[in-house]
Amino acid sequence: MDAKVNRKKLGLKEKYKLLTRDLGWEPSYHAKEKIFPYATYEGIKIHDWDKWEDPFRLTMDSYWKYQAEKERKFYAIIDAHAQNNGHLNLTDARYLSALKIFLQAISPGEYAASKGFARVGREFPGVGTQVACQMQAIDEIRHAQTQIHAMSNYNRFYNGFHAFAQQRDRIWYTSVARSFFDDAMSAGPFEFMIAIGFSFEYVLTNLLFVPFMSGAAYNGDMATVTFGFSAQSDEARHMTLGLECIKFMLEQDPANLPIIQSWIDKWFWRGFRLLGLVGTMMDYMLPKRVMSWREAWDIYGVANGTALFKDLARYGIRPPKSWDDAEAGIDHMSHQFMLGFYQWSFGTCFHSWIPSDEDMAWLAEKYPKSFNQYYLPRWQHIKKLAEAGTPFKNFGVAKLCQTCQLPTVFTEPDEASLLCHREGDYKGEKYHYCSDHCKEIFDNEPEKYIQSWLPLPQLFQAPNFGDIGAWMAWVDLKDGIDNGDYVGSQDEANFQAWRGLATSNSNAQAQGEQ
């Protein structure tokens, strides 16, 4: 402990004032608009930046103190995990597919969020906002680092973790997360705040972290629980920042309302599409499941979202336009994604599998309105094909949505037996979308989205020109090792063998360590 200094302790409010407002100054030899050139072009009007307040009133000195404590806790557990063969405590190595997707798609998103907050922290003219954005930029880079560090312990023993940094830019499914953050980062600072700070953090992040981390706890993955909780302890602050930011913008000028509403409409849908991948992890990839995606949505999406939008109604904000279509999709999306992952598993750097009879009974119970009717017959047929020695591989690679970049696997909101097709023309080119909402987002800013780097059309262009083998080398995917069915994989064989060794008297040290 530091030596005690006999001085009156500052109150929270006073300290916050001193360590935010009093760090700012009025420029004397430069025009303010020149220093903050991006603060107005989006049309948001701010009259008094001092009205901005962090409800937690966290100042930089306290921030470092508490973050250091979080890091100590984190590394104590990560060390214990590594020292005690923590990877053998998993319920099953199938679970690792969820982590591989997380590492390839979500962790680079944390890094992107860090860059984004560093940027908007510079671009916002208000001091309170700058400090809060600076903290969040540091948080996000910490999340990326602790996640990569925690999962590196699995990389020593299992396939598919090795090339996440390269795959973030090259493999097909990661472009969904990448384009989400690129879209936000190439927008102005206010839209970025609504995109990441409000729609993603406040409305949707609970769905990502809370049930998923509980799932990790259920499945014996101490490393992920630890990075998850460590990250999540920052999220509460981020969520609060997002909510504060939207209230501040709405209170500053009534003209801000329609702009903000259109961003909420856009970013709720963008985030909802992205987080659908989490639904697949929860419903299919956790050997021991905590709750279904539907149940998580009811708790964190519906209950919480309803309360939030009821609260914001006093400013004239209504729930996102796509809310009903999101609700309609909940009973279908995890099945649609997993069926896609299975049939395209030759191109994924993680394993998928056909759910067991027990899994399917659970899915039928959790999805009484959809599973037996629509998805069970497909899985049964796929099982029959596998048993006949002709496992289903769909080499007709997917049509991607120009906006969210997901394969267009979704069905019509009111007809679950028909794929949803939407297309449009812009300047003589044809574009395809997964939904009315993604089409509308495109139509609002076509010059932005025509530039989408869609990984599957790119497969047939330079440098790979449709050669799947060359593409696999280019994305650093080892055929027969990193991809395909979990059943019969090296991961499966190693996990069984090592766990056997760990519970008997033979040499328990992992022999296949890479």
């Binding site: 009133r57 809370v210 509980s214 706890a217 209230k247």
Partner: protein
């Protein structure tokens, strides 16, 4: 009335905090979930520094909550003595 919630890691540090929340918010409902405790409360939920300190047996700054906080919902208002979550509608 909408429900606010706070979710904390389930560990030795949060046990007295959770007890304090229960004492100060008789309407709160405590849900034990894997590795975490989620407390729901209709309308508002208050965490009082004084109650936590009494149960913990040491000085406690409310900002220490950040270390073990998982998530929350509602508008936040924090002073030196209390942290309040509420919905205005």
């Amino acid at each position: 009335m909408s429900t606010v919630f706070i979710a904390l890691q389930a560990n030795e540090q949060t046990r007295p905090i959770i007890e304090a929340i229960v004492l100060d918010n008789p309407h709160a409902i405590v849900n034990q979930e894997p590795a975490m405790v989620k407390i729901d409360a209709e309308g508002t939920l208050v965490i009082r520094q004084q109650t936590v300190e009494e149960l913990m047996g040491r000085a406690f700054e409310l900002q220490e909550l950040h270390v073990n906080l998982i998530s929350l919902s509602g508008n936040v208002d924090e002073t030196d003595e209390t942290l309040t979550l509420c919905w205005n509608a």
